[in-house]
Every structure is written in structure tokens, then in C-alpha cells.
């Protein structure tokens, strides 16, 4: 099992790249531009989707929730993989920064998953006449939320930050292996019990006028996700690296300027 924790000296460049200080400084330069981009994309997408995209023939205006539901679901799932990959990098190369990214990704992912569920439920009311249906997508999302909550709970159950990091990284990896199985099973289960009801989203058949704002929203959510991830990670870096000279210098610099 030693392979898990072994690393050879040739990987040292990788460690330097993964230095929290480098990350903090670089993201500090990127953040204003990224935030601007995220804001512009989200603003454009939202106005376009809510006001200018054509109505759906069957669902009417309630369909406009798609512009929040789909990007949130997208990022909720992608976020889990980002978290798991960051955890894996941390486990394999003992990289502290990587664990910080993983730890930051968990609450963001959980919130986005919750948003996906919430918007799905609100969308369900005018469409199906009920807030909750055991639809395959929604059920999978609910399980994803449980997976996120598990990672968060495990992280904070340990007194030692390090042990919490390792434990939640392993759990995230196990979850990653399981997610495709869970999704496939739930899909199969759904077709078994409720063949052919209304499908919420059918992206390929979507009219381009509807699809373009969705694309803008998805891009906007991606940028937003990166901004949030950077912000959470930067806060975590400050907390964890408080004893280092560069953080002290940074604090002194900020209080003087």
C-alpha cells in the first residue's frame, strides 16, 4: 500500500507548482477578471433566458427555470469530480494545496446540488402538479447531495484537519467510482417503474434560440464555480498557512497599505 504515499524526487516541480503561496498570488491576479466574466455571462444569460428566449410550447414560461436548473446540475456533478480528483492528487502526492481545493469544493458542490434539487422541485409544480416526483434525474441528484453531505460530515468529524482531509478524499474517490453505477441504476429503476412520462430536458431537440442562452448560462456557471472555488481555497490557505512568513508579510502589507 506504500504506493499511495510514495513520491519520487522528480515530482518536486509539481510540488512547487502546487505551492499555496503561488496559488494565492496567481488567483489574486485572475480573480477580478474571472468575476467580471462570470457576472457578465450570468447577467446576459439570465436576461436572455428569462426575457428573450421563446416560450416552450408545452410547458409555457415555467420552462425558463431550465436556465438555472441545468447549469446547476451540471456543475453539481462536475464539482464532485473536481473534488475527487483534487482529493486523489492530495493522497498520491501529499499535496496540501490539493486538499485545500478538495475541502473548498465540497460546500460549493453541496449548495449547487441543493439548488439543482430546489429549482427542479419548483419547476415540477407547474409541470407535473407536484413538487416532488421520483424522477430519475431528481433522485440521482438527491443521492449526489447525500454523497456531498457525507464528505462534508466526515471532513469535520475528525479533530485533525489532516486525517479529515485524507478520509474525505478516500470517500470522494469511492463515491466517484460509484456515481456512474448509481446514475445507471437509478435510470434503470425509473424506466422499470414509470415508462415514458414527460422528459424535463431534451437538449438535442431544443430550438437554437432556447439553447444559446442555456449555453451562456452554463459557461457563466462554470466561471462562477471557479471564482467561488478560488475564494474558498484562498480563505482556507490563509487559515492553514498562518504560521508561514509569507502570510505574515501579506498581513503586514495589507494593514500598512
Amino acid at each position: 500500500m506504500n504506493w499511495l504515499s510514495n513520491w519520487s524526487p522528480s515530482w518536486q516541480w509539481f510540488h512547487r507548482l502546487g505551492s499555496p503561496r503561488w496559488f494565492y498570488q496567481t488567483t489574486g491576479r485572475w480573480l477580478p477578471w474571472l468575476s467580471l466574466l462570470a457576472l457578465a455571462l450570468l447577467g446576459t444569460g439570465l436576461v436572455w433566458g428569462l426575457g428573450f428566449a421563446p416560450q416552450d410550447a408545452k410547458q409555457g414560461n415555467s420552462f425558463r427555470i431550465i436556465y438555472l436548473h441545468v447549469p446547476a446540475s451540471f456543475l453539481a456533478l462536475a464539482g464532485y469530480y473536481i473534488m475527487a480528483i483534487a482529493g486523489a492528487v492530495g493522497l498520491i502526492w501529499k499535496m496540501k494545496l490539493s486538499y485545500m481545493v478538495m475541502k473548498s469544493a465540497a460546500p460549493i458542490g453541496a449548495v449547487l446540488t441543493f439548488l439543482a434539487l430546489f429549482t427542479g422541485a419548483v419547476w415540477g409544480k407547474p409541470t407535473w402538479g407536484t413538487y416532488w416526483v421520483w424522477d430519475a434525474r431528481i433522485t440521482s441528484m438527491l443521492i449526489l447531495l447525500f454523497l456531498y453531505l457525507g464528505v462534508l460530515a466526515l471532513q469535520y468529524a475528525f479533530h485533525s484537519n489532516e486525517a479529515g482531509n485524507k478520509a474525505s478524499a478516500i470517500l470522494a474517490l469511492v463515491g466517484t467510482v460509484n456515481i456512474p453505477i448509481i446514475y445507471k441504476s437509478v435510470d434503470w429503476w425509473y424506466t422499470l417503474h414509470q415508462p415514458a412520462t414527460i422528459k424535463l430536458t431534451s437538449a438535442p431537440s431544443m430550438h437554437p434560440d432556447m439553447f444559446q442562452p442555456l449555453l451562456v448560462m452554463i459557461l457563466g456557471f462554470y466561471c462562477f464555480y471557479v471564482v467561488a472555488l478560488f475564494l474558498f481555497t484562498r480563505a482556507e490557505i490563509l487559515r492553514r498557512e498562518r504560521k508561514t512568513t509569507w502570510v505574515k508579510a501579506l498581513v503586514l502589507g495589507e494593514s500598512q497599505s
Binding site: 506504500n2 489532516e162 504560521k243
Partner: protein
């Protein structure tokens, strides 16, 4: 390689939550040596034992066994060591005999003899939950008579045992080092054996601020 020490530890450091646990450790143990690890509570004696037995991974530094890094000869190294920790690893529901048969599975030595030597003759088939804490400790100590391990790690071995037990353990230790083995132990007690080398460890500066 007659000149390479059995165990050598170089620049060993261990961080727990970004704080070094102890000051850097450099230590060699030769065949026939008993090294007593000394240090105040919280100096990291148990942590050091766990690092040496690979239960924990060091943050930096190397541990070499007979001149070779233990990462490269893991199987060999782990087959050659014996570790007695705070919890002796005695199963309450098993009898003393069953425990020993389990703990020293690959040994040819007689379990009865070992039990007799630690003063548990006749207790062999009693479930361990009927024995006292000191007797549990003795069951674990009986392992020492049944092992071929060259390097012993004993973490506070004198806890909960009486005078007879102490002298038994001391005899056991001097026999082991006479036979070319080596022992690393942590205890606050002074041993009645000649030639025990003491090695002091101290908590790292990081620990004092907390």
C-alpha cells in the same frame, strides 16, 4: 556489512496538522544495543514508535534497516520487528493460549513454556476477560519469548506489571540483546540493565505555542 548499524534514522521529522511534533531525530541502533527513548509527556515518543513501525509515514527523513531504506525492504523489515504498544492487542474473548497462538503464529516455541515464564502457567485456557490488566500485559509479554524478531519496539512496556514482571522483562531484554538483537523502548523508569543508552527527544517549538 558488519559496520552498518541495524537501524539508522536520519533527519526524521513528522508534521501533524502543519506542526512539527518533535525536534529532528537522528539516531542509530546497533546490534546488541538497548536504546531508551526519553522525553517529557507529549514529546512524541509514541509517535516516534509509530513512525519506526511504519504505522505512520514520516513527513521527511529516512529510516534505514541494515543500511537499506525501509521503503525498499518493507517486507523484510516488518518481518524482523516486533512492536508492543500501549494497547497490547490481546483479544478479550480469546483465551491466553489462543491469543498467543494468534500473535506468534509463525513461531515454533512452546506456548505453554512462554505462559509459564510470564507466570501464567495454568491460566492458558481462561478467556482473557477474566484476567486482570496486568495479566493481559503478561500475555502480550509472552510474545517476546516466542519471536524471532531482531528489533523490538517496546512502548511503555512496564505499565501495569508488578516487580516480578519487571525483572522478567529485563531478563528477557538482556537475553535478546546478548543474542545480537536490538531494542528501542520508551519508559520513564530506570532499567536495571547495564549499557542502556538513553536518547532524549523533545517537543518541537511548534508545539509550545499551543
Amino acid at each position: 556489512m558488519p559496520n552498518t548499524p541495524l537501524l539508522s534514522v536520519e533527519r526524521l521529522q513528522f508534521e501533524r496538522d502543519d506542526c512539527n511534533v518533535f525536534e529532528q531525530i537522528d539516531l542509530t541502533v546497533d546490534r546488541g544495543e538497548i536504546v531508551q527513548i526519553e522525553g517529557p509527556n507529549g514529546a512524541g515518543k509514541t509517535t516516534l514508535m509509530r513512525l519506526l513501525t511504519t504505522a505512520l509515514q514520516p513527513t521527511s527523513g529516512t529510516i534505514s534497516y541494515a543500511g537499506q531504506s525501509i521503503d525498499l525492504c518493507r517486507y523484510e523489515y516488518l518481518s524482523d520487528i516486533l512492536y508492543l504498544g500501549h494497547q497490547p492487542g490481546v483479544k478479550m474473548t480469546l483465551t491466553a493460549e489462543e491469543n498467543l497462538r494468534w500473535m506468534a503464529a509463525d513461531s515454533n516455541a512452546s506456548i505453554q513454556d512462554a505462559l509459564a515464564a510470564v507466570g501464567l502457567a495454568g491460566y492458558g485456557d481462561i478467556p482473557c476477560y477474566n484476567l486482570s490488566a496486568g495479566q493481559h500485559r503478561r500475555v502480550a509479554l509472552a510474545r517476546l519469548l516466542m519471536t524471532d524478531a531482531k528489533l523490538w519496539y517496546l512502548d511503555e512496556p512496564f505499565t501495569a506489571i508488578d516487580k516480578q514482571g519487571v525483572s522478567f522483562l529485563e531478563n528477557c531484554m538482556s537475553d535478546h540483546v546478548k543474542g545480537g538483537g536490538a531494542i528501542l523502548l520508551s519508559t520513564h523508569q530506570d532499567l536495571a540493565i547495564d549499557g542502556v543508552r538513553k536518547y532524549g527527544i523533545s517537543p518541537h517549538a511548534d508545539q509550545r505555542g499551543l
